[in-house]
């Protein structure tokens, strides 16, 4: 099963939300769509879901053109950011509602819902209403509903963003087990690069409705295609030097090291990050961030340096990368 977006465009209120977006997601692949808020990632998801219709371009699932067919016929399992559980229905009713309106027999419906409840260990909650559930439990119900559709494609809209960090850690393996390890393509929209990098096979970065780069998490990190990607991906943020001779150079904080040769610096302040520490330095090249091992101690005799091959070079006009990894 494959999902293909073929140069789709979407305008809302005369603003371009999506411009000339093409993507291909293969069987069992998880593509994270990452970008700042307002970049068009949610709209992309809604276009695939059929909740919005493209102005131009086309969408295919398994060579079938679904650009203009109704959401239900696209057979998509979607998990909403808010989970979108029906507050007036019990968990069981929430899960069986869709089966019922799609005309699945009561017997079959009971069988399917029970097995999903079992799979997600939700049986004991089946008679409760969503308000009586914890955030994590609700998220699992939302997953269960998507699974019940037995879809040809999963769309996950910020599925973890309403959960606390600890819970996210716990739910990631579950998400992997249930959805990401399946055969269907998964589109995973998030604004959290950490999550994108850890969950996705590939990441698509959107900015202002355009695809700016697509690739494996490693590609994106190692060879960001533009200044935007370089500064958007990677925390602490990449250091960018002031423009010179039509070039903007960048160096990631972890690529700066202490050296006897190199340049002088003054420590402005230090952030303690547990395994690492981040130094904010004032140097002749401007302010720089340097990420070091936590047990390193620094004194004023030290100088800092970096390897030339670690530098990222960008054209100052186009803001695009000009060197190769």
């Amino acid at each position: 099963m494959t999902l293909i977006l073929n140069s789709i465009n979407k305008q809302i209120n005369k603003n371009w939300i999506i411009q000339d977006l093409s993507l291909k997601v293969k069987d069992g692949e998880c593509l994270a769509i990452l970008g700042p808020s307002g970049c068009g990632k949610s709209t992309t998801l809604r276009l695939i879901a059929g909740l919005e219709i493209c102005d131009s371009g086309s969408i295919f699932i398994n060579d079938e053109d679904i650009t203009n067919i109704s959401p239900v016929d696209r057979k998509i399992g979607m998990v909403f950011q808010s989970y979108a559980l029906f507050p007036h229905l019990t968990i069981y009713e929430n899960l069986s509602l869709g089966l019922k309106i799609r005309g699945i027999s009561k017997k079959e419906s009971i069988r399917r819902v029970s097995s999903i409840l079992d799979l997600l260990k939700l049986e004991h909650l089946s008679t409760r209403k969503p308000a009586a559930l914890s955030g994590g439990q609700r998220q699992r119900v939302a997953l269960a509903r998507a699974l019940l559709r037995d879809p040809s494609l999963y769309l996950l809209d910020e599925p973890m963003s309403n959960l606390d960090a600890q819970l996210r850690e716990r739910l990631r393996p579950e998400l992997r087990r249930l959805i990401l390890n399946g055969n269907q393509p998964v589109i995973y929209v998030t604004h959290d690069q950490h999550e994108a990098m850890s969950m996705a096979n590939r990441i698509a970065i959107l900015n202002d409705g355009r695809l700016v780069q697509i690739g494996t998490p490693k590609d994106i990190y190692k060879t960001p295609a533009s200044i935007f990607v370089a500064s958007f991906v990677g925390r602490p943020q990449i250091n960018l030097f002031p423009e010179s001779a039509g070039l903007i150079k960048g160096i990631r904080p972890e690529d700066i090291f202490l050296d006897n040769k190199g340049i002088d610096f003054k420590i402005l302040y230090t952030e303690w990050l547990g395994t690492n520490q981040l130094f904010h330095l004032d140097t002749s090249q401007g302010r720089l961030r340097m990420l070091c091992n936590a047990d390193i101690s620094i004194n004023s005799d030290h100088k800092i340096n970096w390897k030339q091959e670690k530098l990222h070079l960008f054209d100052s006009k186009t803001k695009l990368r000009i060197n190769n990894g």
Binding site: V72, E93, I101, R102, R149
Partner: protein, 286 residues
């Protein structure tokens, strides 16, 4: 401490509600009229016996229930339709919302005069139009079988915006992604109205229902102005009867009896509505 915080509310309820109720109940056990020189003379419940045998009171009760039932149900159905329209993405929505509230902001007596004029025979627009298209004058307000419908129309016109506002507020509490999730599961717009909108609007509908029933049950100025309770007393409400007894006949004992009786009736009706609504709702849901 918790109870201490409740005291002001409790006192207020006591003052504006319980005390007058007790006072009216007490008054209903006395003859207090122009004949007694407005003195309170205990009469061993003869007001109540009179009430039970008072055909006029029961007729007014039926007429009041008819008025309330028709106006409130029409209002709620219309209000839901209007609220659904107003919640759509349409141009000039803000202006529309404001305009739609105008009838509600208008004093009842003024708008009742307006309706009296609209139904005026032969100069009102309704009779003018019906004469123009050859039906002759309709004489609605002078027809004992039809006049009450005119009062219902007046009430619906006046109060629907208010109910629509409550329903609209309710609609806005329903997140749009519920509809989207339901759409992706294959729900049609009608199904999503029945399965999502209506159940989630339930508290708002119930609030409007009880609130409006109580108001419509006490309808007074609208009818007083439009028909004065006529023709042939066909539009007289309980409130008008109670008012006549108090302010025209100066028979305060009996007036208090009517008020207490109508209060008991109202509570009963609201309870029945509540039970009925819950039954209806459980039938509708899955």
């Amino acid at each position: 401490m918790n109870y201490l915080l409740l005291t002001p509310a409790f006192l207020l309820i006591l003052l504006v509600f319980v005390l007058p109720l007790i006072r009216y109940s007490w008054m209903s056990m006395h003859s207090i009229s122009v004949i007694t020189g407005l003195d309170y003379i205990p009469n061993n419940g003869s007001n109540w016996i009179r009430l039970l045998n008072d055909d006029r009171f029961w007729r007014d009760t039926i007429q009041t229930i008819r008025f309330a039932a028709f106006s409130v149900s029409i209002e709620i159905v219309l209000a839901i339709i209007i609220a659904l329209l107003l919640s759509q993405r349409i141009k000039g929505k803000g202006i529309l919302r404001t305009i739609s509230l105008l009838p509600w902001a208008l004093p009842t007596t003024i708008m009742a005069l307006g309706w009296r004029w609209i139904f005026n025979t032969p100069y009102g627009p309704i009779d003018q139009i019906s004469s123009l298209i050859g039906f002759g004058t309709l004489d609605i307000l002078s027809n004992p079988d039809l006049a009450w419908i005119a009062t219902v129309i007046g009430d619906v016109w006046k109060t629907t915006p208010f109910v629509a506002l409550i329903i609209l507020a309710g609609l806005q509490t329903i997140p749009s992604d519920l509809y989207e999730a339901f759409k992706m599961e294959g729900g049609s717009p009608l199904q999503s109205f029945i399965k999502i909108t209506l159940p989630l609007l339930k508290p708002y509908i119930l609030l409007s229902l009880v609130f409006r029933l109580a108001q419509a049950f006490g309808v007074f100025d609208l009818i007083q102005v439009m028909t004065g309770g006529g023709p042939a007393s066909s539009t007289e409400s309980i409130a008008i009867y109670a008012y006549l007894n108090a302010m025209r006949f100066l028979d305060f004992g009996y007036s208090a009896t009517i008020m207490i009786a109508s209060f008991i009736l109202l509570i009963t009706i609201c309870l029945f509505t509540w039970i009925f609504y819950n039954k209806l709702k459980s039938k509708l849901s899955i």
